[in-house]
């Protein structure tokens, strides 16, 4: 039993820190730290910086341009990035589609699509959920009818994160209406510039435009854009979900957010003393700090158990549930810490270049409550926390 990283892992940690210190533009990290909105260009810029170092696609083996990292190295990298307030890696191409193509794609598909993910030629979004298929994902009804060398696709996808920036979407489509639910699904890559694709924004409760609806009307897709065999898309879908849930605990993000919480708790006053000295607030903070410390070790235990480059199995459901609960609790405390000023909704304060004057404490400036409300999504996406409990009950408990 030894909780320390190996000397090699410690060296890797140092290497990542040095890279971030040198290559992460302060302009970007400051924006992330302040909870400001990032533009498409910001995210593209960060991808390019990581790609130039060969660190963009952390899940990919070296032969496809990935770094070939172990699970522990990925954990270290993602933590260090979060602690340094890096922009997040847009996961849809590199972390979701990439592993699916590597596992199920043809040689031609890999040769064509993988380099384009790395160099930013394509911005991918995820066409999974539909109005009638959320937690019950296998209930997708978007249809793809095979006609000659094409599929003709009709239907609607929704909750499409950053779809407004994307030129490509990977979709679960129904290719067999007669088959049993999971068995008539195929995995299809669709060019969003095709005629019949329409993207409409969905504004979330915090006022942000992060997600979209995607309407597909008689969209013609070449058959070579099918990944895996026809009607076997569910296998790809499930495989992708395991990657979606990797590092789902977001330990680094929580640690970074908790540090920010400590900063505001030291300056925000209640009854003549800093919030950090207030017994009730301090107790709330201490509880989440303890859970986070426990979670770090739980996460490392899961990684150690899945070592050998694999991805964690059903255990990642535990990480997802508690990890998101912790992140939500921290943003809840951050909101509480702002007191009356949490209500101020100064939208322009979130824009790039906004430089005050602030309403209330600078950190509050419109982001505390907005972040809190935005973070309600954490326990819903990637398989809601209730779905995760179903998975635990079935896969781990055998109920």
């Amino acid at each position: 039993m030894d909780l320390r990283f190996t000397p090699e892992e410690e060296n890797f940690c140092t290497e990542v820190r040095a890279f971030l210190a040198q290559k992460l533009p302060p302009r970007l990290s400051e924006r992330v730290r302040a909870g400001k909105r990032l533009s498409r260009a910001d995210m593209v810029e960060w991808h390019a910086i990581l790609n130039s170092r060969g660190w963009l696609a952390s899940h990919w083996p070296t032969q496809y341009g990935g770094p070939g990292w172990s699970a522990v190295q990925r954990f270290i990298f993602e933590n260090e990035c979060a602690l340094a307030h890096c922009p997040r890696i847009v996961p849809f191409g590199v972390n979701m589609l990439g592993p699916v193509l590597i596992k199920f794609g043809t040689e031609a598909q890999k040769r064509h699509w993988l380099p384009r993910i790395l160099d930013g030629s394509d911005w991918w979004c995820q066409g999974y959920s539909e109005p009638g298929a959320g937690s019950d994902l296998a209930g997708v009804t978007t249809s793809a009818v095979h006609q000659g060398e094409q599929y003709v696709v009709n239907g609607q996808k929704t909750w499409t994160t950053l779809g407004q920036y994307a030129n490509m979407i990977f979709c679960l489509v129904r290719t067999d209406r007669e088959a049993k639910k999971q068995e008539g699904i195929s995995f299809l890559l669709i060019d969003m510039r095709s005629p019949g694709v329409e993207v409409r924004p969905i504004i979330t409760l915090d006022g942000a435009h992060e997600i979209n609806e995607v309407f597909l009307t008689n969209v013609r897709v070449p058959v070579e854009n099918l990944v895996g065999p026809e009607n076997k898309g569910w296998t790809c879908a499930k495989y992708l979900l395991t990657y979606e849930r990797t590092n789902i605990a977001g330990i680094g993000l929580s640690v970074a957010a908790f540090e920010q919480l400590k900063e505001v708790a030291a300056t925000q006053m209640r009854q003549g003393q800093p919030l950090a000295e207030d017994p009730l607030f301090a107790a709330r903070m201490a509880r989440v700090e303890i859970e986070l410390e426990n979670m770090k070790t739980t996460n490392l235990r899961v990684l150690a158990a899945a070592s050998g480059g694999g991805v964690p199995g059903a255990e990642s459901s535990m990480l997802k549930i508690r990890g998101t609960e912790i992140r939500q609790e921290i943003s809840s405390l951050y909101r509480r810490a702002m007191g009356v000023h949490a209500r101020a909704y100064v939208d322009e304060a979130l824009d790039d270049g906004a430089d005050g004057p602030w309403v209330g404490p600078k950190e509050a400036a419109a982001s505390a409550a907005a972040r809190y409300f935005n973070n309600r999504k954490l326990s819903i996406f990637g398989g809601s926390n209730e779905i995760q409990k179903n998975i635990i009950a079935k896969m781990i408990l055998g109920l």
Binding site: L3, E9, I290, N294, T297, A304, L397, L399
Partner: protein, 384 residues
């Protein structure tokens, strides 16, 4: 990074678990609890032979372990077996003896490790609520020796002890960290009286009353007035032991409850097929894993500097306090009416899980302590 125990530790765990399975089954444990002594000297001797006591101390003190994970391994087994013999009290007393390090103390520690003597730490009083600085039992100089007056509360298996390590106030006022001293008090010392009683979570305990107990000068363990850091260290070992014991009991309760969900049928189907119950069980599993991580963190920090170590210990006690009670309450609820019965082993695991929160500081106590230590305002005693 490696979360596997060493071969030696795994062998020790296997040995202890086998002993519990084969010689300390639930019926045996209940028979011991129901006996007049509420404790088995034979079991104590057996545990010593198997190395359960020696594993708690390093080689330099006559044992073969003493690291955080040695202690965690032993007590997780004890928790799985609901062992009522007083290992926690002996661990803390032994730590004091090891720290004091005089020839007499080391000789007594050797007897403790061999299972020949039972020595227990007695520090809690009616108003201490886990905080040693609240100790009020007085020790005054009397000639060349000392005279002790006061009482100690809920000393686990005190009736079995050959001697006690008693924490007393030799100067200062209640609330001061300074002014505490430790004394070795043989069980048969005139003026020391015990009022024994059963415990709801098994075994027995006693209230100790010391009416002007006269002790020779050699009874003082270590320096007068400066026992606080020694006690903090010893209690820290006890806290780790309890958290690991709790973890073992949680695992046993979890397994029993899971088995019940799989086999108990209502509405023509196992009740484990109902989502309302599945989700509660999934949540329980997650909490137990978090508790296990907290115990790992505490065990790994046992040799660290004071703030890190004590915070990790308090974090673990907060966690197992909360999770242990949750597991107890949920296990009873998921069992339904049968969970309310004395005959069901689960019920006794549940009682132990809840009562662990009443030993060596509860969830609130350790949450406050975790906060104070984080501010650097806590007791400045001891090394950093």
């Amino acid at each position: 990074m490696n979360f596997e125990h060493s071969d030696e530790r795994r062998m020790l765990a296997d040995t202890l678990n086998r002993f519990i399975r084969e010689q300390y089954g639930f019926a045996t444990r209940q028979r011991i609890c129901a006996s007049a002594q509420g404790c088995s000297r034979e079991v104590w001797q057996r545990l010593a032979e198997l190395g359960a006591i020696a594993a708690l101390f390093p080689e330099s003190d006559g044992g073969f372990g003493g690291a955080g994970f040695d202690i965690a391994i032993v007590f997780e087994s004890m928790g799985r077996g609901l062992v009522v013999e007083p290992l926690v009290g002996a661990l803390m007393a032994g730590q004091v003896l090891a720290t004091v390090g005089t020839e007499a103390a080391r000789a007594l520690l050797a007897e403790l490790i061999a299972g020949e003597k039972i020595v227990l730490l007695a520090y809690e009083e009616a108003d201490t609520f886990a905080d040693p600085s609240r100790i009020a039992l007085r020790a005054e100089r009397a000639g060349a020796g000392w005279r002790l007056t006061g009482s100690k509360s809920v000393v686990h298996q005190a009736e079995q002890a050959d001697a006690f390590v008693i924490a007393a106030r030799t100067s200062g006022a209640v609330g001061d960290e300074n002014g505490l001293s430790l004394f070795l008090v043989p069980r048969d010392t005139p003026g020391l009286s015990l009022r024994g009683y059963r415990l709801i979570d098994g075994g027995r305990a006693a209230e100790l009353t010391l009416g002007a107990v006269a002790l020779p000068a050699v009874s003082l363990l270590g320096m007068a007035d400066s026992a606080h850091p020694v006690m903090e260290r010893a209690i820290g070992y006890g806290v780790l032991a309890l958290t690991a014991e709790s973890l073992g009991a949680m695992e046993a309760a979890k397994e029993a409850t899971l088995e019940y969900l799989r086999t108990r049928k209502q509405f023509g189907t196992p009740i484990g097929s109902f989502q309302a119950l599945q989700h509660r069980m999934a949540a329980l599993l997650l909490e137990v894993e978090q508790a296990r991580s907290s115990v790992i963190n505490a065990a790994a920090s046992l040799g660290a500097g004071r703030t890190l170590r004590e915070r990790a210990l308090s974090a673990a006690k907060v966690t197992v306090g909360r999770v242990g009670i949750l597991v107890a309450e949920e296990s009873i609820q998921l069992h339904g009416a049968i969970g309310m019965t004395w005959e069901l082993p689960l019920a006794h695991f549940a009682k132990r899980l809840v009562m662990i929160d009443h030993e060596l500081g509860d969830e609130d106590h350790h949450l406050a302590r975790f906060i104070a230590l984080g501010r650097g305002k806590a007791l400045a005693a001891g090394a950093p």
